[in-house]
């Protein structure tokens, strides 16, 4: 191997060093290793704009065979929890959960994410915030990463340093695509002309939906625990413009509930937030998914 002269290394460092520092200073920090994966705190925009909301993101990448959990983890597991250390004038909102997957081990069913997921957290910046040098946003994440064989708890300390400016926000080109794709796939309120009803059929809830076209797949993920039997198959009966989904009640559901809230995923991974009152009669009502809270 030809030996390079020491002076050429010196010049390389001089050239690339500052570039590397610049990279570290923007909205794209390095990923922290976690058990069987990595976790990174990223931001949609290049700076915090006073008076605006900035989307932060917890970017999980997981080894094959390992998963983390949704807000309702299902039969086992525990969702990740975040504690923020933020400078004054900045407030973090709740995690915006993408639609989960059913993680089926036969006797139990959990709800979560495999491979990779971005958990978006909106950060509100007070309008009175003064433009200032980069501030440090800290996040302590408690997580549980599981495979079919075992679960491993862990903690990750993440941080991201961003300037605060009075100028309007500008997207970070490095993270823009990931945020856009995630935002697009987040569960959204169902279209206003869709009609939903839920009837209490003794040992099951029957969700009836009129969505104007034939549906080939439908899976319901309840937001609350202990309402439906997670491992029970969800029987789908489809007609031309509507469908019925039978959801077996949970053995832990001892008191009647008024409403069924959750995420309904149709073919093509189209995810909708539904929040439907439960009735004994079979009357189809207009969609009450508008304005459903996440």
């Amino acid at each position: 191997m030809q030996r390079r002269s020491p002076s050429s290394w010196f010049y390389r460092t001089l050239t690339f060093g500052p570039a590397l520092l610049l990279c570290a200073a923007n909205a794209h920090a390095e990923a922290t290793p976690i058990t069987h994966g990595s976790l990174e705190l990223i931001a949609r925009n290049q700076w915090i704009a006073a008076g605006h909301t900035l989307d932060l993101g917890l970017r999980f990448q997981l080894e094959k065979g390992w998963h983390i959990y949704w807000v309702n983890p299902g039969d086992s597991g525990e969702p990740p929890r975040v504690e923020w250390q933020l400078p004054a004038g900045l407030t973090a909102g709740a995690i915006e959960w993408p639609a989960p997957r059913r993680l089926d081990t036969g006797s139990i069913v959990d709800y979560g994410y495999e491979d990779r997921v971005l958990l978006i957290v909106p950060l509100q910046a007070a309008p009175t915030l003064a433009a200032q040098q980069p501030v440090r946003l800290g996040a302590q994440v408690k997580l549980l990463v599981c495979s079919h064989e075992m679960c491993i708890p862990g903690k990750a300390e993440l941080s991201l340093t961003l300037p605060i400016k009075s100028q309007p926000p500008a997207p970070d080109t490095l993270t823009a695509e990931l945020f856009a794709a995630t935002s697009k796939s987040l569960p959204r309120p169902a279209p206003g002309n869709w009609k939903f009803s839920v009837t209490d059929a003794n040992d099951s809830f029957v969700l009836t939906a009129n969505v104007g076209h034939q549906v080939t797949q439908a899976v319901f993920f309840p937001l609350a625990e202990s309402q439906i039997e997670n491992a029970a198959p969800q029987k789908l009966v489809t007609e031309k413009a509507d469908f019925r989904l039978t959801l077996r009640k949970s053995d832990q559901l001892l008191k009647p509930i008024d409403r069924l809230k959750g995420v309904l995923v149709l073919s093509g991974d189209q995810a909708f937030l539904v929040d439907v009152p439960i009735s004994k009669a079979g009357a189809v009502r207009s969609n009450s998914g508008n304005g459903a809270t996440k």
């Binding site: 086992s76 525990e78 679960c151």
Partner: protein
């Protein structure tokens, strides 16, 4: 008996039978899994790590606690490393409760232990169940539809399940969450022993999935 009265009499008896059957069916408990709250706890025989055999129905007249266990699961470790599970076992067995730790993990899976390994674990952890039952084929686990470890079942002296679910109200792996948690097992036992209604008879059990032999991948 005259023939002309035979047919009406038969019909009458059939109707009576049908009515009785219908009444019995209506009066019967709802058709849910046999191991559920309010239903009679399914009987089983288990072999302990000591080699001794234990039969649930031999414990009629006593309260019984079933504790699903997997020593590798962080939710179980939270209870054992904090000393909480051992303290519960001692406290309640002293009051005449029979406490069975049940290992339903299949061989080769996390939580499985041979008799010797389990005896070593019990000694090391200073655990004090009445017995640790080895259920590697998952028979007892499936009978009770045990989903997680830990999962707790409390049975009253009449042999009826009065509690099924989580050990407490803090579904985390954090040891720091043990002291402040409401322990559902103790709550159920205290209330039932005082002749009161069990306030929280069923909760979502939290923990790691039970590692049965037939788990699909």
């Amino acid at each position: 008996m005259k023939r002309s009265t035979l047919l009406p009499m038969l019909l009458c008896r059939m109707l009576l039978c049908a009515t009785l059957v219908a009444l019995v069916l209506c009066a019967a408990p709802p058709l849910v899994s046999a191991a559920k709250v309010g239903a009679v706890a399914p009987d089983f025989t288990g072999t302990a790590s000591t080699g001794k055999t234990f039969r649930l129905s031999d414990y009629r007249g006593k309260y019984v606690v079933l504790e699903w266990h997997n020593n590798g699961c962080p939710f179980v470790r939270k209870q054992y490393n904090s000393g909480n599970m051992q303290q519960l076992q001692k406290q309640w067995t002293r009051q005449g409760v029979a406490w069975f730790t049940i290992l339903s993990s299949a061989p080769g899976k996390q939580g499985y232990a041979t008799a010797q390994e389990e005896n070593d674990y019990l000694a090391k952890m200073q655990a004090a169940p009445t017995a640790a039952l080895l259920d590697p084929n998952g028979e007892i686990g499936h009978l009770y539809d045990a989903k997680t470890s830990p999962q707790m079942v409390v049975i009253n002296p009449q042999g009826v399940v009065i509690y099924d679910g989580a050990i407490d109200d803090k579904p985390t792996t954090d040891l720091n969450d043990v002291p402040g948690a409401t322990n559902y097992v103790s709550l159920a036992l205290q209330q039932a022993m005082a002749g009161k209604q069990v306030e929280m008879p069923a909760t979502r059990p939290y923990g790691c999935s039970v590692k049965y032999a037939d788990a699909t991948h």
